[in-house]
C-alpha cells in the first residue's frame, strides 16, 4: 500500500474549485451538452420534423447533447484521467484519490474509498427519493377531486412518469449503493471493493441520470409512465428522450455496480470467510448483483432501439413497418421483473441480518435462507410475461407463467420461515431498526397475498392494470424496500457517521410512517377492485371518498418523512452526539471496528473462524480474529 500524504495548508476556495471535482464536472457537463447539441444540429438539420407539436425539435441533437454532457461531467470529475494516463504508458496506480484526508471535499469528487462512495450514494439517492416522494404528493393532490383541478393531463402524466422512474431507477440502488458498498467490504474483511474507480463511476453516473430525467420538464414531459411503452414513446415529444437517456444511464450504472459487487464478494473475501460463513446480507447482495448485471442490459437494448426509432428512423417498434409493440413490452419486462426483485431482495437480506442481532439468536435456517435468495433470483428471470397476461402474446404459455410466478412464493416463503425461526424463543429488543424490519414482515405479507391474486390469470383479468396492482407493488416495494432502507439507515448510519439518532424522533417517524403507509395503500386495493385503472387523471365521482382518504393519508406519510429529515438535521448536523462503537452489541465484523472506521478499514486483514451469528454460545466474543492473528 502506498503512503498517505496529508496536506496541512489549505489553498483558497477559488484554487480548490480548480481541479477534478463536482464543480468542474458541472462546467464539463454544460460545455459537453452545448458541443453535443451543436454537432447534432449541424448534420441533421434536414431530418427535423416539419409538422406536429414537436416541429423544429431535433432528437439527434438532444441525444448527442446528453451524451456530450455526461462525458463532460465524468471528465470534469476526473474519470478520464486514469484511462488516458494508462494510454500514455504510465504505470497503474490505485491511490490517486484516497489520500485526500478527512475533509468534506472528498465527497464532491471521484473518491475510491468505499465508505465515502457509500455516503455519496446515501445522500444522492436520498435527494432523489425525496423528489420522487414530492411527485407522489402532487399526484395525490390532483386525485383529491375526480376532475382535473390542479394539473393538466400532460403535467399529471409527467408527474406519474417521473415518480415511477425516479423510484424505480434511482432507488434501485437504494440499498446496494449506500449499504452494500459500505458494509460488504467490512463484512467480508476487505479493505476496498474490487474496482474502486468503477464504484465511484456508478455513483456519479447515477446522479447524471437523475439530472437527465429532471430535464424532461423543460422538454415537454413524457406521457408513458415509467414503463415507457412503445409505440406511445415513439409518438412522444422530446421529453421522452430524457426518459431514454435517464434509464439507459441507470442501466449502465446498475450493471457496473452489480459486476463490481459480484467480483468483490467472490474474490476479496478474507481468510476464513468461507461461503458458509458469509453474512446473509452479503448473500442477498450477491443474488441482487447477479440480477442487476444480467437484467440491465435488456433495458439498455430496449431503450437503444427506441432511441434509434426516434433518431435514425428505424422501425423496431413501429407496427406496419415490420416492427412490433410487443417487442418493447417483452424486453422491458425481461428487465423489469428481475428489477422488482433487485429492489426486494436486499430488503430480505437486511431483515435476516438484523433479526439475529435484535432477537439475540443465530440466524435460523441459514442454508434455507441462502437457497431462498438464490431461488428468487433464478426464478425472477422466468416470470416476466405475467405482465402481459391479457396482452394476447403467447397466450398458450399463460399456465406456465402462472406456475412460475406462483413458484416464486416458495423461496420468498423461505425468507419468512427463516425470519420467523430466528424470532423463536429469542429475546427480542424493539429498537427502531427492528421495528422497521417487523413492519417489513407485515407489509410484505399483504404484498405477497395480493400477488397471488395477480398471478392467477382469471383473477388478474380484473385486477391487471388497475389500482389493485398499483397497491400490490407499493406494498412490496415501499413496504419491502423503503422500510428496510430505513431499518438500514437507523442501524448502520450511526456507524457510518459516528453520530447517534434521536430515538424518540425515530420512533415517531416509524409509527407515523407505518400507520400512514397502510392507511394510504390498503384502500388502493379496494379502489382497484372497484374498477379504477392506473394512471388516470379523472375517475368516477363515487370513488372520491376513498381517493380523498388515500390522499390525506399520503400527505401524513409525507409529513412522517419530514420527521425523519428533522431527525437527520438535528442528530447528525446540530447535536452530533457521538455513537458508541457497537451500540447494538452485534457480532458482525463491521461493528468490531473503531468509529469512525479508518480509511483502510482494517489495520491487518482479519481471519474469520465462524459465521457472524454466534449468539448464545461460548465464547461470547465476535468471530473476527484481528488484528494480532491476522495476515497483512
Amino acid at each position: 500500500m502506498s503512503t498517505i500524504a496529508m496536506t496541512t495548508d489549505r489553498p483558497p476556495v477559488w484554487r480548490r474549485l480548480i481541479g477534478f471535482n463536482l464543480f468542474m464536472g458541472i462546467i464539463g457537463a454544460i460545455v459537453g451538452y452545448l458541443v453535443g447539441y451543436w454537432i447534432g444540429g449541424r448534420f441533421t438539420g434536414a431530418n427535423i420534423a416539419y409538422y406536429g407539436p414537436e416541429a423544429g425539435q431535433n432528437d439527434i441533437a438532444i441525444f448527442l447533447g446528453y451524451f456530450g454532457g455526461v462525458v463532460g461531467f465524468m471528465g470534469g470529475l476526473g474519470f478520464l484521467n486514469y484511462p488516458i494516463s494508462r494510454l500514455l504508458g504510465h504505470p497503474p496506480t490505485l491511490a490517486e484519490h484516497e489520500s485526500e484526508g478527512e475533509g468534506i471535499g472528498r465527497y464532491f469528487r471521484l473518491c475510491t474509498d468505499h465508505k465515502v462512495v457509500a455516503m455519496q450514494y446515501l445522500v444522492g439517492i436520498g435527494v432523489f427519493f425525496f423528489i420522487g416522494g414530492l411527485n407522489a404528493m402532487l399526484i395525490r393532490t390532483e386525485l383529491l377531486q375526480p376532475n382535473t383541478h390542479v394539473f393538466g393531463a400532460n403535467q399529471y402524466l409527467t408527474l406519474v412518469g417521473m415518480h415511477g422512474s425516479m423510484m424505480m431507477g434511482m432507488m434501485t440502488s437504494g440499498i446496494l449503493g449506500p449499504f452494500a458498498n459500505w458494509v460488504v467490504p467490512l463484512m467480508i474483511g476487505s479493505r476496498r471493493m474490487a474496482f474502486p474507480r468503477i464504484e465511484s463511476f456508478t455513483f456519479w453516473l447515477l446522479m447524471a441520470a437523475g439530472v437527465v430525467l429532471i430535464t424532461t420538464i423543460f422538454l415537454g414531459g413524457f406521457q408513458t409512465g415509467w414503463t415507457g411503452y412503445q409505440p406511445l414513446g415513439d409518438q412522444n415529444t422530446a421529453g421522452y428522450d430524457a426518459y431514454i437517456g435517464f434509464f439507459a444511464l441507470v442501466g449502465v450504472s446498475m450493471c457496473l455496480l452489480g459486476f463490481n459487487l459480484i467480483v468483490t464478494i467472490i474474490t476479496m473475501r478474507a481468510p476464513g470467510m468461507t461461503w458458509s460463513r458469509l453474512p446473509i446480507f452479503v448473500w442477498a447482495v450477491l443474488a441482487t448483483a447477479w440480477l442487476m448485471a444480467l437484467a440491465a442490459p435488456m433495458l439498455i437494448a430496449a431503450l437503444l432501439m427506441g432511441a434509434m426509432d426516434r433518431t435514425i428512423q428505424t422501425a423496431f417498434y413501429v407496427p406496419g413497418q415490420g416492427g412490433s409493440s410487443y417487442l418493447f413490452q417483452n424486453l422491458f419486462w425481461v428487465f423489469g421483473h428481475p428489477e422488482v426483485y433487485i429492489v426486494a431482495l436486499p430488503g430480505f437480506g437486511i431483515v435476516l441480518e438484523l433479526f439475529p442481532v435484535f432477537a439475540r439468536k443465530p440466524l435460523w435456517g441459514y442454508r434455507l435462507a441462502v437457497a431462498g435468495m438464490l431461488g428468487v433470483a433464478l426464478l425472477s428471470f422466468f416470470v416476466w410475461q405475467h405482465h402481459l397476461f391479457v396482452s394476447g402474446i403467447n397466450a398458450d404459455l399463460r399456465p406456465f407463467y402462472m406456475l412460475s410466478t406462483e413458484l416464486i412464493s416458495l423461496p420468498t416463503g423461505f425468507t419468512f420461515l427463516c425470519a420467523m425461526g430466528t424470532l423463536w424463543r429469542g429475546r427480542i429488543r424493539f429498537t427502531v431498526p427492528m421495528l422497521f424490519c417487523l413492519a417489513w414482515a407485515f407489509n410484505f405479507l399483504w404484498g405477497g397475498i395480493s400477488g397471488v391474486l395477480l398471478s392467477d390469470v382469471p383473477s388478474d383479468v380484473t385486477t391487471h392494470g388497475s389500482f389493485f396492482s398499483m397497491a400490490h407493488f407499493h406494498y412490496t416495494i415501499m413496504g419491502g424496500l423503503v422500510f428496510t432502507f430505513f431499518a438500514a439507515i437507523y442501524y448502520w448510519v450511526p456507524k457510518m457517521t459516528g453520530f447517534k439518532f434521536n430515538e424518540r424522533l425515530a420512533k415517531i417517524h416509524f409509527w407515523s410512517m407505518f400507520i400512514a403507509f397502510n392507511s394510504t395503500f390498503a384502500p388502493l386495493f379496494a379502489l382497484g377492485f372497484l374498477g379504477m385503472p392506473r394512471r388516470v387523471v379523472t375517475y368516477p365521482t363515487n370513488l372520491q371518498g376513498l381517493n380523498d382518504w388515500v390522499s390525506v393519508s399520503a400527505f401524513v406519510l409525507g409529513l412522517s418523512m419530514l420527521v425523519f429529515l428533522y431527525n437527520v438535521v438535528w442528530s447528525l448536523v446540530i447535536k452530533r452526539e457521538p455513537s458508541e462503537a457497537n451500540p447494538w452489541h452485534s457480532k458482525s465484523a463491521e461493528w468490531q471496528l473503531p468509529t469512525p472506521v479508518p480509511v483502510y478499514d482494517f489495520e491487518r486483514i482479519p481471519v474469520f473462524d465462524a459465521d457472524p451469528y454466534p449468539y448464545g454460545v461460548e465464547p461470547t466474543g465476535p468471530p473476527v480474529v484481528a488484528p494480532a492473528g491476522g495476515v497483512a
Binding site: 434536414a46 427535423i48 420534423a49 406536429g52 393531463a153 411503452y229 409505440p231 406511445l232 409518438q235 412522444n236 426509432d309 428512423q313 407496427p319 406496419g320 409493440s325 413490452q329 435460523w364 441459514y366 434455507l368 402481459l388 391479457v390 394476447g392 403467447n394 397466450a395 399463460r398 399456465p399 402462472m402 406456475l403 406462483e406 416458495l410 416463503g413 420461515l417 425461526g421 424470532l423 424463543r425 429469542g426 429475546r427 427480542i428 414482515a441 407485515f442 405479507l445 399483504w446 397471488v452 391474486l453 398471478s455 392467477d456 390469470v457 382469471p458 383473477s459 383479468v461 380484473t462 391487471h464 372497484l530 374498477g531 385503472p533 394512471r535 388516470v536 448464545g616 454460545v617 461470547t620
Partner: protein
C-alpha cells in the same frame, strides 16, 4: 415455558382465528368481490377470487399470529440486559413440513388457475388463436364484435352486420360474444369491468376475448393501459340488452352509419394506418 407449549398456543390461536375469519371471508366478503356475476366469465373470476382469498386467509393468519405471538412472548423484558437467546440454528422437521405445505399450496393454485383459465378464457385477451374457448362458442358461431382502440376512444365494428362501425357498445343478453380487440395507434387495453373482460389492444394485432352475457346489464368501459395524454378520459358506458332490443339497436345503427360504412376500409382483423412518426 417450553417450546412445545409455545407451539401449542400458537396453533390454537391460529386455529381459532382461522375458523372464525375464513368463513367470514369466503361467505361474506368474497361473494361481493369484483367483477360481480354479470357474465359467465365474471362469475368465474369471482369463483377464483373466493378460492384464493379463502386459501390466503389461514396462510396470512398463520404468519400474523406467529409474529404477534413472538413479539409478545419472546420480548426482552429487561431492556438494559443484553442476554442471548438459545443458539437454535434450524429444525429439519419444520423446514420439511414448511416446504411440503407451501409446495402443495402453490401446485394447487397453479392447477386450479389453469383449469379455470382453460375452461372459457376467463374474459382475458388470448391473442389471435385462442385455445380457451367457451363450450357454447364451439357449438354455435359466437357473435363477432371488433373493438378498435385509438387515441382516445373505442369504436366497435360488426362484421356480421355489414361491417358497420358504431360509437358505443350494446350486446344481446344470453349470448356468447367473440371480441376482436385491436388498435390503430398505440397500446390500449379494453376493460369492460362488469363483463369481466380485459384485453390489450395492440396495433397490428388481433387479440380475442370471449364473454358470455347473462341478464341485461350496464357496464363501464375503461382503457386500462396508459395510452397518452387523454388516457384518463378514455371511458364509456356499454349495455347488455334483451335480444329484440339489440336487434333494433343494431338495425338503427346500420341505417345511421350507412354513409360512413361505404367509405370505411373493408373489415379486416388488423389495420395499418399511416403511423404517426417522430421526425429526425
Amino acid at each position: 415455558m417450553s417450546g412445545r407449549q409455545h407451539f401449542r398456543r400458537i396453533v390454537i390461536l391460529w386455529l381459532v382465528s382461522s375458523i372464525i375469519l375464513t368463513p367470514i371471508v369466503v361467505f361474506v366478503l368474497a361473494p361481493g368481490m369484483p367483477p360481480g356475476n354479470g357474465t359467465v366469465e365474471a362469475s368465474g373470476q369471482v369463483t377464483d377470487n373466493t378460492v384464493l382469498l379463502g386459501l390466503a386467509t389461514p396462510v396470512a393468519l398463520a404468519v400474523l399470529v406467529y409474529f404477534g405471538y413472538a413479539c409478545w412472548a419472546f420480548r426482552e423484558r429487561d431492556s438494559d440486559a443484553v442476554v442471548d437467546g438459545p443458539p437454535i440454528r434450524g429444525n429439519a422437521t419444520v423446514q420439511t413440513w414448511w416446504l411440503a405445505v407451501t409446495t402443495l399450496i402453490v401446485l394447487f393454485l397453479a392447477v386450479f388457475g389453469s383449469v379455470e383459465l382453460l375452461k372459457d378464457g376467463s374474459g382475458g385477451g388470448q391473442g389471435p388463436n385462442p385455445i380457451a374457448t367457451p363450450a357454447a362458442a364451439k357449438a354455435t358461431p359466437p357473435l363477432q364484435v371488433q373493438v378498435i382502440a385509438q387515441q382516445w376512444q373505442f369504436t366497435y365494428r360488426w362484421p356480421g352486420y355489414g361491417g358497420v362501425e358504431t360509437q358505443h357498445l350494446e350486446l344481446p343478453a344470453n349470448t356468447t360474444v367473440e371480441l376482436h380487440v385491436t388498435s390503430l395507434d398505440v397500446i390500449h387495453s379494453f376493460w369492460a369491468y362488469q363483463l369481466g373482460v380485459k384485453a390489450d389492444a395492440n396495433p397490428g394485432e388481433d387479440n380475442i376475448a370471449y364473454v358470455t352475457t347473462k341478464a341485461p346489464l350496464t357496464f363501464n368501459i375503461h382503457c386500462a393501459e396508459l395510452c397518452g395524454v387523454w388516457h384518463g378520459y378514455m371511458f364509456d358506458t356499454g349495455y347488455v340488452v334483451n335480444k329484440p332490443q339489440f336487434a333494433s339497436w343494431i338495425a338503427t345503427q346500420r341505417v345511421k352509419y350507412a354513409p360512413a360504412t361505404k367509405r370505411l376500409v373493408p373489415y379486416s382483423k388488423t389495420y395499418f394506418p399511416e403511423p404517426q412518426r417522430r421526425g429526425g
